[in-house]
């Protein structure tokens, strides 16, 4: 590649900026309602769960129900959409790699950044909705809330980079990740808090990094909730080595990218 380190960084920033603008207009170019629909879909799912839960669930905690669902849903959604967005970044943007300036890492960075912005915006909308409906409070511990929310995205990013690199040679890798993530939705605490589980299960469920992200969200948001298992460093500890292996494989598999 040409140029000094700083000029290459400048090129990368310019390319990432262009990619983000392109991604936004490509995703929502079909109709202006696209933006609205993207946020309405999860809100409708959450509201449906809200009414079902309100009918059948015994209230065992002090947590307001809608805010409980919003924190769980968007935290898990952050992880899940990050995995699929990053893992598919090469497949979805292959033709763009024809440009000398555009590398696979640029595509990964732009999609990751866009996902952070989108999901954070969704969480805000969900949070405001919960406050309007239930008069729920603002996050009690904003730092823990933010750390927990981003830990889910970080694990998603790490897994995504790894899967993206593997998919260069084995495109079926995605077929293994999807069922794991679907199962993950039910065991990561989107629909329950760990405190509602029998205490003998703690030793097992605490291996799941996303469970800690969601537990952290709830402990940080709700003054009354104290998680029995929370270790917010754990998802970062799991994510970091995965990210390192993923980035290493990303370098090693570049020559396997076939464009034509």
């Amino acid at each position: 590649m040409t140029g000094s380190f700083s000029s290459r960084c400048a090129t990368s920033l310019r390319v990432i900026h262009a990619l983000i603008l392109r991604e936004i207009s490509a995703r929502y170019a079909e109709s202006r309602a696209g933006y609205l629909w993207a946020i309405l879909t999860p809100i409708i799912s959450i509201l449906t769960l809200y009414f079902v839960f309100a009918l059948i669930r015994q209230r065992e905690t002090e947590i307001p129900l809608l805010a409980f669902l919003v924190t769980g849903w968007f935290t898990f959604g952050f992880y899940q959409s990050m995995v699929s967005m990053i893992a598919n970044s090469e497949a979805a943007n292959k033709a763009l790699l024809m440009h000398q300036n555009v590398t696979r890492l640029d595509v990964i960075a732009s999609r990751g950044l866009l996902e952070v912005l989108t999901t954070a915006l969704f969480l805000c909308v969900g949070g405001v909705l919960a406050m309007m409906v239930e008069e729920a409070s603002l996050p009690d511990d904003p730092l823990l809330t933010a750390l927990s929310f981003f830990s889910a995205g970080f694990v998603g990013l790490s897994v995504g980079v790894l899967v993206c690199a593997i998919m260069t040679y084995f495109p079926v890798a995605m077929n293994f990740i999807n069922p794991i993530n679907r199962l993950g939705f039910f065991i990561s605490g989107v629909l329950f808090t760990t405190s509602a589980l029998p205490s003998w299960t703690y030793d097992y469920v605490k291996w799941n990094p996303i469970l800690h992200s969601i537990e952290g969200m709830r402990q940080g948001w709700f003054e009354t909730y104290q998680s029995p298992v929370l270790d917010i460093a754990y998802p970062y500890t799991v994510g970091l080595p995965i990210l390192m292996i993923g980035l290493f494989l990303e370098r090693r598999t570049r020559r396997g990218i076939r464009i034509g």
């Binding site: 040409t2 262009a18 170019a29 024809m98 440009h99 076939r258 464009i259």
Partner: protein
């Protein structure tokens, strides 16, 4: 001013196919300077487009190195990078941003050169292949590359546009390098000052005797006898 070059050294590339590993390029070495107009000759599957992508850096060689101090275009004529849902204008803006060019200037140039008129505002998926080729070629002319890679651009489009492309290339050839693939042999003869023939010998044959090489290549195609131009 720095000397500008693209240096391809001992580049090999193998693709995995259903039948096993298929070596596409074997130890190719060549250098492109601003004065070079290189034509690549070879039958289908000889590795012409692969070599073009190696030069451009969108694919990495299995072994060997490619060094470049020139800005290189994408393979013009390949229009897959145009986002179908976005308008021609939005695609143009994206390209300009990626290469750090003046966005408004590029849009104006493309509007003028492509002659797409109001179609520039329509999504690219509504374009015919000729219209896509016009947009792609106009884009490559609007952003000033040191070296243009051109793959089959004049195979599509009407005669008037083909003439426009060739005229533009002729003007360009005075101060910029380019690499032509799958162009008509007649055009390569006229526009290039260097050719590389793939697939006739064990190693690629590079020659500055453009006319003689083309004649020899044509003979190899029709009669199956390859004689290195003397």
């Amino acid at each position: 001013m720095d000397k500008k070059y693209i240096r391809v050294q001992n580049v090999s590339k193998t693709y995995k196919t259903k039948a096993g590993w298929n070596p596409v390029l074997k130890e190719v070495s060549l250098e492109i300077t601003p004065d070079d107009r290189l034509g690549i000759l070879g039958r289908n599957g000889a590795g012409k487009s692969t070599l073009l992508r190696m030069i451009g850096g969108s694919e990495t060689p299995d072994s060997g190195t490619v060094e470049r101090s020139m800005t290189v275009s994408w393979p013009v004529g390949f229009n897959g990078h145009l986002q179908p849902g976005m308008s021609g204008r939005a695609n143009t803006k994206f390209c300009a941003r990626v290469y750090g060019a003046d966005v408004d200037g590029v849009v104006d140039f493309v509007r003028e050169f492509s002659e797409l008129g109001t179609y520039l505002e329509e999504p690219v998926k509504s374009y015919s292949s000729g219209m896509k080729a016009r947009l792609g070629f106009a884009l490559s002319m609007a952003i000033e590359f040191d070296c243009l890679l051109i793959d089959e651009v004049t195979a599509v489009g009407d005669a008037a546009f083909r003439k426009k492309c060739n005229d533009a290339l002729e003007t360009l050839s005075e101060n910029r390098a380019f690499v032509l693939v799958n162009h008509g042999l007649h055009e390569i003869d006229r526009l290039c000052n260097k050719v590389i023939v793939l697939g006739v010998e064990d190693r690629p044959v590079i020659s500055t005797k453009v006319h003689k090489s083309i004649k020899a290549y044509q003979r190899a195609l029709t009669e199956g006898v390859w004689e290195r131009p003397q």
